[in-house]
């Protein structure tokens, strides 16, 4: 897991550089801020959501498809939570955190169950 987190951090740098290269007239700080926002909203939650398939799929595949899954899930959850009364302005920190926490807990739970079954 530590190794994957290091790769995740390296990918953040690669993503920020990709943004800066493509949008080269934009300031470095804005490119970094944008990369950080997208990472927090979609990439990290996507990575967490895909932890369940950690031993079945490669990291690159999990990160890419996890990001797509996180865009879908975040959009859906944000819509319903907004209708329930939590305004969008208050969701930017809570929503990704909730997805990350729920995914991580599910991963731990299923990993523990799997270990028990193996024993």
């Amino acid at each position: 897991m530590t190794k994957e987190l290091k790769i995740l951090a390296a990918c953040f740098a690669a993503f920020a550089i990709a943004l800066k290269l493509a949008y080269y007239r934009e300031g470095t700080l804005t490119a970094l801020k944008t990369a950080a926002a997208l990472y927090w909203l979609f990439v990290i939650p996507g990575y967490a959501m895909m932890l369940h398939w950690r031993n079945r799929l490669g990291l690159a595949e999990r990160m890419a498809m996890g990001t797509v899954a996180a865009i879908a899930l975040t959009g859906i959850a944000s819509y319903y939570i907004g209708l329930a009364g939590l305004k969008l302005q208050n969701q930017t920190l809570i929503l990704p955190l909730a997805i990350i926490a729920a995914s991580f807990l599910a991963y731990l739970k299923f990993s523990a169950r799997k270990t028990q079954q193996q024993q």
């Binding site: 990709a18 934009e26 926002a37 909203l41 797509v68 859906i76 944000s78 907004g82 209708l83 302005q89």
Partner: protein, 570 residues
């Protein structure tokens, strides 16, 4: 370094390169190489402004229960009818990154395009890494200004994100045998439902065919008991469908009660899109890459014959990505079977959807003519990467077209912002003809009731002035509003009625009945500029005052409302 690790590094480098290239050639070029702008960049038509204005209205409201009144002709109870995912994702990015919603929307669409290429790669990867690499050259077409990216910036934004979810659903279907694999398929499928639902319908037709093929095969084998066996065999897929329906349970009744009723299926044969004639995609738009697609069709047909036993369980077969791709090719020709705009839209994502076919075709051509099948695995992969880079360079060299930077500019944008920030909420704004504001959804950004004088009526007004010396004050104007779904409002939790019968989306309006005037001062044609400036002088002579002025646009306040607001001619 072992082979697996070496190939893994090569793969990561390839994907990062293509991701960056897609952004660079497409979305970043549209955005003039900047993430943030002082006006919407890349927005080229009314529909794109409609999505931008809706995203901004949701940001301001903090949720999407109802449409903002200025988008739906003043109604305050029209239900938020559009699939919401794109808007919510946009607002979250906008809020967190501190950027305008128009920039966040374009950024998300850019990411959807670039991620679409990566998703197409992983969908193809079930056929092997080398084949998957060959899927990438075709995906680059998504970044070309005409017709692909151009159509997206013309307003096919929700479609683009939905196309990404569509490919991701196909990928997830190939992973259904993984533990809890159905969850991924459910999320992606629900994503298509709640982003742009027509893609769900196309996919549902394919899945229905897959399930039918599986059931028929099981019945042939086990008789009527085969139905039970088919259900068991496709349990994960059925679970995914049920979970997706549960996730989208609140939105699906809205889709059926609003969209299906407003836009029912009608048989019609269309060769060119009536809605987007300039953005109609034809297979020949792929140039020499069409040969790869055709080779892919032939190779898929041969493989399908060879592996016909696998039709009983297609979702577990390597055939699935290829059949999905071939199906999307056929679905794009649904324009000849009444699917009209929806099939034309599907064609816009052909560079992503047909990538598995093109990859398979190219791979088999390489095996046949260059004998790469005889190379060791690592060399085979490296050779395919080299061919991928060559094909990509050639395809973009021959077919790349710079995308449009859009129609809006800072002055005209600020004029609308001035109106939204400085006029009473119930003020009405009369907009003289403008080649920019003629994309009338852009006028939602005034957040006021607007009357837009179309070119024909504008010419009529000028003609009457020229012939009689009197300005004909009353003209037929457009009242910009999103009237497609007929202004639906709730009559129950899942029942709707419509305001359309009592709502005017165009009307005869007296120019002097407006509170404000929005006047474009700079046309490419000097005559139009002179005409608008002349009308502006008449309004100023009739006791209007200039409230906002810039080289391109001005806002006047009518101080003689419902009286004679036209001054004497010079």
């Amino acid at each position: 370094m072992d082979r697996e690790k070496f190939e893994g590094i090569l793969e990561a480098a390839l994907l990062i390169t293509f991701f960056t290239a897609m952004l660079y050639l497409g979305p970043a070029a549209t955005a003039q190489r900047q993430i943030m702008h002082d006006h919407p960049a890349g927005y080229a038509a009314s529909d794109s402004f409609q999505h931008q204005a809706r995203a901004e209205s949701i940001r301001q409201m903090g949720q999407y229960r109802n449409e903002a009144s200025y988008i739906v002709a003043g109604h305050t109870d029209v239900v938020g009818f559009y699939p919401p995912i794109l808007y919510h994702a946009t607002v979250l990015v906008s809020n967190l990154a501190g950027m305008e919603t128009y920039d966040a929307l374009m950024l998300i669409i850019g990411l959807a395009i670039a991620l679409g290429a990566i998703a197409a790669y992983f969908l193809t990867r079930g056929l092997g890494r080398a084949v998957a690499a060959l899927a990438l050259p075709l995906t680059l077409f998504m970044a070309t200004g005409k017709p692909f990216l151009g159509a997206v910036t013309f307003g096919q934004m929700p479609f683009m994100l939905s196309a990404l979810f569509l490919i991701a659903t196909a990928w997830a279907i190939t992973k259904l045998s993984e533990p809890k694999g159905y969850l991924l398929a459910a999320i992606f499928l629900a994503g298509t439902v709640m982003t742009h639902t027509s893609e769900t319908i196309f996919l549902a037709m394919l899945l229905a065919a897959v399930l039918a093929a599986s059931t028929i095969a099981a019945i042939k084998k086990f008789g009527i008991a085969g139905i039970k066996s088919a259900v068991k065999e496709n349990r994960q897929l059925l679970l995914a469908l049920a979970a997706a329906a549960a996730i989208a349970a609140y939105f699906i009744p809205m889709f059926i009660g609003i969209w299906v009723k407003a836009l029912p299926y009608r048989f019609n044969v269309e060769r060119i899109s009536a809605s987007f004639p300039a953005a109609t995609v034809f297979p020949t738009d792929f140039g020499f890459m069409l040969a790869a697609i055709l080779a892919g069709i032939a190779a898929t047909a041969l493989l399908a014959i060879k592996k016909r036993d696998e039709f009983a369980n297609l979702t577990k077969s390597k055939l699935f990505p290829l059949l999905f791709s071939a199906y999307m090719l056929i679905a794009g020709f649904g324009t000849y079977a009444g699917f009209g705009l929806r099939s034309f839209q599907l064609r816009l994502a052909w560079p992503l959807l047909l990538a598995p076919l093109a990859a398979f075709g190219t791979y088999h051509a390489l095996r046949m003519f260059l004998r790469i099948g005889k190379l060791p695995k690592s060399s085979q992969y490296a050779a395919c990467i080299a061919i991928t880079l060559l094909l990509s360079g050639a395809a973009m060299g021959m077919h790349y077209e710079q995308p449009s930077p859009g129609s809006m500019d800072k002055d005209r944008w600020e004029a609308m912002n001035w109106i939204s920030g400085n006029t009473p909420k119930d003020a009405s704004v009369y907009v003289l003809y403008s080649h920019v504001y003629s994309q009338t959804s852009s006028l939602y950004n005034t957040q006021r009731r607007t009357y837009f004088l179309e070119l024909q009526q504008f010419a009529g007004m000028l003609n009457s002035l020229g012939s009689t010396g009197e300005l004909n004050r009353t003209s037929y104007v457009t009242i910009p509003s999103d009237s497609g779904p007929n202004f639906p409002y709730r009559t129950g939790l899942f029942s709707f009625d419509r305001h359309i019968a009592t709502t005017k989306t165009s009307d005869n309006i007296d120019i002097c009945s407006a509170d404000y005037y929005l006047i474009d001062k700079a046309f490419p044609q000097q005559e139009l500029t002179q005409a608008n400036l002349y009308l502006m002088r008449l309004l100023l002579g009739g006791n209007s005052t200039t409230e906002y002025d810039s080289p391109s646009a001005a806002v006047l306040r009518n101080n003689n409302k419902d009286d004679d607001c036209i001054g004497k001619q010079a």
